[in-house]
Symmetry: C2
Subunit: 353 residues, 2 copies
């Protein structure tokens, strides 16, 4: 590794050096590179030749971003560790929507995770705007900093906060719709498998206290939707949106005496895990147990089951966030967006036994 250039000058060339060699002023050289002004063809050629001879790679992005007040970087804050967040395809789909939109607009995507300690760090990078995905309200402090800096903030599925542009999903209504589907099939003893409620990702039963203190808006809204139909629905909290966690939660619910006839999982991966638990215990799906998911992602190896689930437009959610960021950066005032999920009935729900 010979990181140092072979040129004798220890210092890297800058625009001024290029301009000097080309025999023009720095301002002209700048125009030659950016193309944002009238420059004669011969002058541009001279500047480019000088740049090449000096091994100059073009204007320094750092200086550009200071002067222009824009860095072209959009922060995307994910709540979990990457490892966890990317295990659920729903998050990848959303990120893909964001990346598409930003990439088209020539913006880069800075991936940040919501680590409690580095909260100060989050606001340290030169970002033009921020997208929070499924983030807790613990980010209050960071949001304050963003506001002070005049950085637009877009939040996907988050509790309302002042000066934060919302991209919403009908978590509560959709969950209620799913619950009514089960209700219409005659189910009354329904249990919930919840997404993690705290940052600690602790398992255990759903309690009012935990929900009240929860940092996950999505999880609590989905539970509320279920209770709009089944006020007494109980449930357990998983440690993450993984099949393995659904399995654990499913066992916890199905090994006990008072077995539910239907389980509403807050993600498809959790639902698949629940089905696995039922298989393990010799409980037929949907004959003895109905299982409902959420997200509408494709899960490998689920055949012959076709999961009944609430399909959400994940990619669109991401691209809507991307578009909102772009419009906010351009000084526009986009309309808040709210997406709706659709109940897709498969063969994992059936009449109550």
């Amino acid at each position: 590794m010979n990181t140092e250039a072979s040129s004798p000058s220890a210092t890297r060339p800058n625009l001024a050096a290029v301009a000097a060699l080309a025999g023009v002023s720095a301002s002209t050289a700048s125009l030659a590179f950016s193309g944002a002004g009238p420059v004669s063809e011969t002058t541009r050629a001279k500047v480019l030749a000088a740049a090449k001879s000096l091994n100059y790679a073009g204007p320094d992005p750092r200086a550009q971003s200071l002067r222009r007040g824009r860095s072209g970087i959009i922060g995307v804050v994910i709540e979990d560790r990457l490892r966890d967040a990317f295990r659920d395809p729903i998050n990848i789909a959303m990120l893909d929507g964001i990346a598409d939109e930003l990439g088209t607009a020539g913006l880069a995507l800075l991936l940040l995770t919501e680590t409690g300690e580095a909260g100060a760090d989050i606001s340290l990078a030169p970002m033009d705007a921020v997208i929070l995905v499924g983030c807790s309200t613990q980010l209050d402090r960071s949001v304050t900093v963003f506001r002070q800096r005049g950085i637009p903030v877009v939040a996907i599925e988050a509790e309302r906060m002042p000066d934060v542009f919302p991209i919403d999903l009908d978590n509560r209504d959709a969950s209620a719709r799913g619950a009514r589907h089960l209700s219409s099939l005659g189910h009354t003893n329904v249990a919930i498998v919840s997404l993690p409620l705290e940052e600690s990702h602790a398992r255990g039963p759903i309690t009012r206290e935990r929900e009240a203190a929860s940092s996950s808006y999505t999880a609590t809204q989905r539970s509320l939707g279920v209770r709009d139909v089944f006020p007494a629905a109980r449930g357990v909290v998983s440690a993450g949106s993984f099949i393995e966690e659904g399995l654990i939660a499913g066992r916890a619910l199905l090994e006990r005496g008072d077995k539910p006839t239907a389980i509403i999982a807050q993600s498809d991966l959790l639902a698949v895990g629940v089905i696995r638990a039922a298989e393990e215990l010799g409980i037929g799906v949907p004959a003895q147990l109905s299982v409902l998911g959420f997200d509408g992602v494709h899960v490998e190896g689920l055949a012959p089951y076709e999961l009944t689930t609430l399909v959400q437009p994940a990619v669109e959610k991401g691209s809507a966030a991307g578009r909102a960021v772009i419009e906010l950066l351009e000084g526009g005032h986009p309309e808040p967006v709210a997406f709706e999920s659709e109940l897709r009935v498969g063969n994992t729900t059936g009449p109550a036994s």
Copy 2:
């Protein structure tokens, strides 16, 4: 959205304004924030109070990165679209390794994709260093720019390039080891399911021409390793590392007359797809067909199979890249790293029929 602050001054406060209000010089105010120099407690308090009263969020990262020559941002360039790259857990594991190291060092991760057109864009962001993962040599131009800028470049599983720090995997040797395993079981008619060879992700047979023109070092190395043992091994190219693609490739290989007795897939997902294809066609695994994978990732729903595969240390690969970047940034000269994969024998390979 009220992006504009409510303060009457249209302009955002800067360090100078804070310093003026606190009755100190800008240099002292800077020290008060950075803590990089002796500042009396009372002065620091005054500065902080002034900052609060002006709604000042701290030094502007843009200006800091210009002055310091560091932005704290590391670019990570992924070859595929995110959607595709993140469908294979192996990539996520690696990214997680990278993110861990960088996060610990207080560096942020800029996610970039290797889109042909935006090649210019890639070098436009204010990055301190770059990690290329499984990238093609098409990035030559970008690498040139990075070198001119003095930005260290680390490449994971890439062809050797000057001034690029390599993180290697024994793709060829490991594949040869896997092939010998099959050879020792008596197999002679072996076929390969290759990772995509071109950016176009075109399917079709493996040919010398395609391999010669290939942009995927990993794919060609793995094929070479197989041919070290089975010089005449033929094969097909998949359109991506997905189960579905393995299924397509498996059908293509198994529906023909001259069926192989063993298939070497270049990823575990592809291998799973091949197994599905065999099931579909009523071909027993491993009785009639042995299947070998690569990566050693956990695939849901594969039971009762336990894939024979080459286990690579994916997370370690990522963290090694992260550490290398950090050391290079500190001016160190780290040793190149080469990882080895280990053959893990499951129940998908057996004696040739």
